[in-house]
């Protein structure tokens, strides 16, 4: 029995070393694959974190990606613009992303395209924070507190390169073979809802509970901009239907915070520019290129006026 303990100790040691070597070699390869991406969501996040240096930064989910055309901002305002939108991400992600960017540069203006449901409790908003895993050790002081809200022992788990690059390979391969063209972060959509048969409504979410962490993240986003003397503009994008989403609990809270902090909010929900103009929409909540052009002009006009 003593020999068995000894054997377990020795073999465990050997296996542990083998595992570390495998993780080091294959993990290095996985990391190389990840950071060599030229297009796609992950490449855009890397660019935003490591390289983008514009005077205007736009944050937000897919609505940011699809609605803001940096070229129009640059022409109209004569300020370099970067669309840092990340599809599927909520305020907790964008708050951390903004702080990582602010470590490196101080833009003149930040636009945050808010989603009306950002403050509702949503487990997937936490799960999707794994998009930060490959950047964990470079920006640990910002990423750790965010990831640690739901995931324990992030320092230990993220020691392994395999875990750092979890679920990234298929994305990398996909965009290697089929590159996703973006225009400084803008991802145009070409479809149109000329004759919509059915439009998804959202108001059933009105009674959902608000998540304290999301509320804090929203406030923190505003505070960071203020602390760094950066102008901040909040925008609510339009929906294809006439649904009024400005009075949902989540929106009410965001409006309340924005008012307290004296941050301007452009509300294009129900705006006559987009109301029932289905030819400007690709789907129920995303504008097509034509719609995005009009949208970007409306925003730049507002900024010029202000």
């Amino acid at each position: 029995m003593k020999n068995d303990y000894k054997l377990l100790f020795i073999k465990s040691g050997k296996f542990f070393v083998t595992l570390l070597l495998v993780d080091l070699i294959f993990g290095f390869a996985a990391r190389q694959v990840y950071f060599s991406q030229k297009t796609g969501k992950q490449a855009r996040i890397t660019h935003t974190i490591a390289n983008a240096s514009s005077e205007i930064f736009i944050f937000g989910s897919s609505h940011a990606n699809r609605h803001y055309i940096p070229k129009i901002f640059e022409e109209e305002l004569e300020l370099t613009t970067h669309n840092a939108g990340v599809q599927g991400q909520g305020i907790i992600f964008h708050n951390a992303l903004q702080k990582i960017v602010l470590k490196r540069i101080k833009p003149k203006l930040i636009i945050l395209n808010i989603d009306y449901n950002w403050l509702y409790e949503r487990e997937d908003a936490y799960e999707r924070l794994s998009d930060f895993n490959p950047y964990y050790w470079q920006h640990r002081e910002i990423i750790k507190p965010v990831i640690s809200i739901k995931s324990k022992f992030s320092d230990v788990k993220l020691l392994l390169k395999a875990y750092q690059n979890n679920s990234t390979i298929v994305h990398a391969i996909r965009y290697f073979f089929s590159p996703q063209k973006d225009y400084n972060g803008y991802l145009p959509l070409s479809g149109s809802m000329e004759n919509p048969k059915k439009i998804i409504t959202h108001l059933h979410q009105q009674e959902q509970l608000l998540d304290k962490n999301f509320i804090n993240a929203f406030s923190s986003f505003i505070q960071s901009a203020k602390r760094n003397d950066i102008d901040l503009l909040l925008v609510l994008s339009p929906l294809a239907n006439n649904e009024n989403i400005t009075n949902t609990n989540s929106m009410k809270k965001m409006k309340e915070i924005a008012t307290e902090e004296k941050i301007p909010l452009i509300n294009l929900n129900g705006s006559s520019h987009f109301k029932k103009k289905y030819y400007l929409f690709n789907d129920a909540s995303h504008l097509n290129d034509k719609g995005a052009t009009l949208f970007s002009k409306i925003i730049t006009d507002y900024i010029k006026k202000e």
């Binding site: 029995m1 294959f26 690059n165």
Partner: protein, 469 residues
């Protein structure tokens, strides 16, 4: 506590270390440690329901002891009856009360009258279906004098609540597991190594195969009105691997964990999708449950040693109840009934099925057809899915946004699983990494597997499907 959680990753080494540190002392200390660990493991989810396990263990322990000394047949029957009523009473109340109330109310609606049953806000205690069947097997075996009852209360309680298999099986027979609590366990490197290997493969099945497949399956089955036939076919096949990966994965982790403590649990899955008949499938799928139903329901009903009509009835009723065991929903009842019908057809028309490619595919298709009912949220959903599958193939949904890569990961994982199982089923004597004589090759193989789990797995503390049963 979930096997695929950080909590368990901390809990297990602590219990393992303490357990073998006291190995030189009397065996009762190890049993006490296992009992405490098992209650912590279970209580981590909801400590209130520990009282159920405690009560159930207490009742069966004393009934077992009484059966040892009682010779009067009538009294013995009463004792057995009490055990059955207590165990099935808990199960019936927590799992089926609302189901029966709702079904009863609905039945009245069909006949034109209305009756409103009062449903209760009941939480289903995790694993109740599993430990209830395990303790029942003890009293029934003792009653039938197939098993000598134990007088060691700690050993018995540890047997009922043994944490590796407490919440989702394998459902152990007292005759296999109970004596192991009274035999001196010797630390063995081979056992530990084997246990860890089984656990690693189990985690791969759960985290990489099942949880990946679940993303696509849920996207389709939870939004059926937005999908067409091809997507339903793809989702159903993926569900077949999801539930296999989920449950076989859990069983392997359970068997592996038990091995770390010197216990041997029964094999629960033997590559079921290579079965060439439905009857063979049921000798390879959830073996601990199907043999339980065989021994404690099918055979007592007469099994196949009765007239043909009665035999077929026995088969059907066994599967119908097995379906109900899986959940308080008519979808499970239909799933059980379908399997019963498959077996009846096999008995009547295909009693000798040879092992060939066609029969394997046919069996896989039949099993998948039944899985539609198992996975669908309601019977009408299942019927809708079958209707669309057969009338409108349409286009294949491949996901949107972050879910778009899920089917590709899933396909990769399922293909790898398929190749491994194919090799084990038909070419087992050929080259093997897990049994290779070269120690470094073995280690490298398992290190790669762990890398794959961390690199390709889904990490969101995903629940095991069978927890809900």
């Amino acid at each position: 506590m979930l096997f695929n959680s950080i909590d368990f990753a901390i809990f297990l080494p602590i219990v393992f270390g303490l357990y073998w540190a006291i190995a030189k002392k009397k065996i009762i200390f190890q049993n006490i440690l296992l009992l405490v660990a098992s209650y912590i493991f279970y209580g981590w989810w909801d400590s209130r329901f520990l009282s159920l396990i405690l009560f159930s263990s207490l009742v069966d322990f004393y009934i077992g002891k009484s059966l040892l000394t009682t010779r009067n047949i009538k009294k013995r029957k009463i004792l057995l009856f009490i055990s059955i009523i207590v165990n099935l009473g808990f199960l019936g109340f927590f799992k089926y009360y609302n189901f029966f109330v709702d079904s009863f109310s609905n039945a009245f609606t069909i006949f034109g009258s209305s009756i409103t049953g009062r449903g209760l806000d009941i939480i289903l205690p995790v694993g109740i279906s599993f430990y209830t069947f395990q303790t029942l097997s003890y009293t029934i075996d003792v009653y039938k004098r197939k098993l000598q009852p134990t007088t060691n209360i700690i050993g018995f309680f540890a047997f009922v609540s043994f944490f590796p298999q407490l919440v989702a099986g394998p459902i152990e027979r007292a005759s296999n597991l109970l004596p192991q609590f009274f035999t001196k366990r010797k630390f063995s490197y081979v056992n530990v190594s084997m246990g860890v290997k089984l656990m690693i493969w189990g985690f791969f099945l759960k985290i990489v195969v099942a949880d990946r497949a679940a993303i696509y399956v849920n996207a389709i089955y939870n939004n059926i009105e937005n999908h067409e036939g091809l997507s339903f076919i793809a989702a159903t096949i993926m569900f077949a691997f999801q539930i296999y990966g989920d449950f076989a994965g859990y069983s392997l982790i359970a068997i592996g964990t038990a091995k770390l403590f010197g216990f041997n649990l029964m094999t629960n899955f033997k590559r079921p999708y290579f079965s060439s008949s439905v009857s063979e499938f049921w000798t390879r799928w959830h073996i601990s449950l199907s043999t339980w139903f065989r021994d404690y329901l099918y055979i007592p009903l007469g099994g196949n040693r009765v007239g043909k009509l009665r035999w077929l009835f026995n088969l059907f009723i066994t599967f119908l109840i097995s379906g109900l065991w899986h959940g308080a929903n008519w979808t499970f009842v239909v799933w059980g009934a379908l399997n019963g019908i498959y077996l009846i057809i096999e008995v009547l028309f295909f009693s000798k099925k040879s092992k060939n490619f066609f029969n394997i595919i046919l069996t896989f298709v039949l099993i998948n057809f039944a899985w539609i009912f198992f996975r669908a949220n309601t019977i009408s959903d299942a019927l809708y899915i079958i209707n669309i599958m057969t009338t409108k193939l349409g286009t294949l949904y491949i996901g949107v946004g972050p879910d778009k890569t899920a089917p590709i990961y899933s396909l990769l994982a399922i293909s790898f699983l398929f190749l491994v199982e194919l090799k084990r089923e038909f070419f087992d004597a050929t080259f093997s990494i897990s049994r290779n004589r070269n120690e470094y090759l073995r280690m490298f193989g398992y290190a790669i597997l762990i890398f794959c789990i961390l690199y390709l797995g889904v990490f969101g503390d995903g629940q095991f499907i069978y927890f809900q049963f």
